[in-house]
């Protein structure tokens, strides 16, 4: 084995680690660059606010934007309350027994299931068995289940970060366990729970496979009217216009991708800013 002198090997490893880090940044920058370069010309007010025309080759993508927003809003309003309740139970009440361990194991495994499997599951259960049809609600339920493990895990992290002494003091003042959670634990964990939720929204906005069979339609000539409507959704729409429609103008494809990207990135940005804000105002 070659023995490098310590100074040199120190330098070498620094360079190596630095290059690895740059390699991570490169694809992100390139992707954003290409999408902006090719798509920026398509972004107009009309593109964002009107229906598609000429077999999607013209007009706008409003129904897809609204479709994605409605699925995501429904999904998070289902997943967040359930996830937070489960996290509270696991973190504040559950004793360390077999059942608890099985639940935790299930959560870990649920997080590892491929998203297309969730899509098939949603098709089988929500669309067919519960007869919800291909609809916003079926897609939202599917996405909610997919996102539950992430929400539970981040919410548990947030609950855990509330110092144990706060709970102890509250209990020692004769405040019941539930009231302690209500008045002390939750308010202090809220920032963490919310940032987790925003990141979840960002993540599920871009998901295609889970809504493929459960919510998304090739083309719907009207805007979503109820949760039982089939809708167009940005990621699926992007897939269709890039593969299924001949003679599609390139800038519309990239423009659609840009809108999706902005949607996801802006939500991540909100989460980052929220986290910075809360960290600065963190009081313990």
């Amino acid at each position: 084995m070659i023995k490098l002198n310590p100074k040199l090997s120190q330098k070498l490893s620094y360079v190596l680690l630095f290059c690895a880090t740059c390699l991570v940044i490169v694809p992100v920058t390139v992707i954003i660059f290409i999408i902006v370069k090719n798509g920026a010309s398509a972004i107009t007010w009309e593109f964002l606010t009107s229906m598609p025309k000429d077999g999607m080759r013209g007009g706008g993508i409003l129904p897809a934007i609204l479709g994605t927003l409605s699925i995501v809003v429904c999904a998070i309003s289902i997943a967040l309350p359930i996830g937070v309740c489960a996290a509270i139970y696991l973190n504040e009440y559950a004793k360390d027994n077999l059942l608890t361990r099985i639940i935790k194991l299930a959560i870990v495994n649920l997080a590892g299931v491929p998203s297309v499997v969730y899509g098939l599951f949603g098709l089988g259960i929500f669309v067919m068995l519960l007869k919800l049809g291909v609809s916003i609600i079926a897609g939202a339920l599917t996405l909610a289940i997919m996102e539950l493990p992430v929400i539970i895990t981040t919410a548990r992290g947030a609950l855990n970060s509330v110092p144990y002494s706060f709970r102890e003091v509250s209990l020692s003042l004769g405040v019941s366990r539930w009231q302690t959670i209500q008045y002390i634990v939750l308010p202090n964990a809220l920032p963490g729970i919310l940032t987790g939720a925003i990141l979840s929204i960002a993540r599920i906005s871009g998901e295609t496979a889970p809504i493929l069979f459960t919510a998304a339609a090739f083309y719907v000539p009207h805007l979503p009217r109820s949760v039982f409507d089939q809708v167009m959704a940005l990621p699926y729409h992007l897939y269709i216009i890039s593969t299924q429609i001949p003679g599609m103008p390139k800038n519309i494809i990239y423009g659609t991708a840009l809108v999706l990207l902005m949607l996801v990135l802006s939500m991540s940005l909100v989460a980052i800013i929220a986290r910075l804000y809360f960290r600065k105002h963190r009081k313990w």
Binding site: K95, D96, P163, S165, F166, R167, E168, V169, S170, L171, S172, L173, G174, V175, S176, Q179, Y183, I184, N188, K283, W284
Partner: protein, 251 residues
């Protein structure tokens, strides 16, 4: 008058026998100190008195603790009201990250003991006066409690306990994070408080125990070795182990 009577009390953390057959009577409106080397079970015994140990998984108890004539380990005891009656002040000042006012009012508001604003205001004021903090911070009631000095925070924590009108106040090394001046001022406060409350204090500082307490318990490895008048413990203890400890001949 006895306020607390501990009878054949045992406590286990899972398999670890932390308190071994403790028997002891704490008198009303006195200061009772608990001393002993680290890990001997002082905090555990103190925390048994308001059943805050219950929140730790694997804790098991045997025996009785009677407070005001009622066994607090009996079935059907309302633990929350027990804890209001037996307040606790912790080692590190630990106010909630909310305003001074809300810290003191917390127990009253959340327990819905009181909802009239005027009564809560009055209680906050009386509690802060009782810990001699009112004059210093009456203009800062809306400020975050974390902006106070450590000593003020610890006083605030005592006020927070007093606000729910306990009869017994437990203190677990309340001065160990404070400087000597603050330490002395808290000691003076305790001397005043004992006129209204039964006080049990755990301390590492033997001088402190000697200065402020009426009776002192010496513990060792989960056993109560000796419990007597403070003077006697520090000048003429009947057990050799106590003598070794108070004279500093002990690890």
């Amino acid at each position: 008058m006895e306020k607390i009577e501990i009878k054949n009390f045992n406590l286990w953390y899972t398999d670890f026998h932390a308190l071994k057959n403790i028997n002891m009577k704490v008198k009303e409106k006195q200061i009772t100190a608990m001393i002993g080397p680290s890990g001997c079970g002082k905090s555990t015994l103190l925390r048994a008195l308001n059943r805050i140990n219950d929140t730790i998984e694997g804790v098991r108890t045997e025996g009785e603790i009677n407070i005001g004539g009622k066994n607090i380990y009996a079935d059907g005891i309302d633990v929350d009201s027990l804890r209001r009656n037996v307040g606790m002040v912790f080692q590190r000042p630990n106010p909630f990250p909310i305003s001074v006012y809300n810290n003191v009012a917390f127990g009253l508001q959340v327990n819905r003991i009181e909802s009239k604003k005027s009564v809560i205001d009055q209680t906050v004021r009386e509690s802060l006066e009782a810990v001699l903090l009112w004059d210093d911070i009456k203009d800062k009631l809306k400020k975050s409690a974390l902006e106070l000095s450590l000593e003020q925070q610890q006083r605030l924590c005592i006020a927070r306990v007093i606000a729910v009108k306990p009869q017994v106040i437990l203190l677990d090394e309340p001065c160990s994070t404070l400087d000597p001046v603050a330490n002395q001022r808290i000691e003076e406060l305790m001397m005043q408080l004992k006129e209204k409350y039964t006080i049990v204090i755990v301390t590492h500082n033997m001088h402190q125990a000697a200065r402020i307490s009426d009776e002192t318990a010496f513990m060792l490895l989960g056993d109560l070795i000796e419990f007597d008048k403070t003077d006697k413990i520090f000048t003429n203890p009947s057990q050799k182990q106590t003598d070794d400890y108070v004279s500093g001949r002990f690890g």
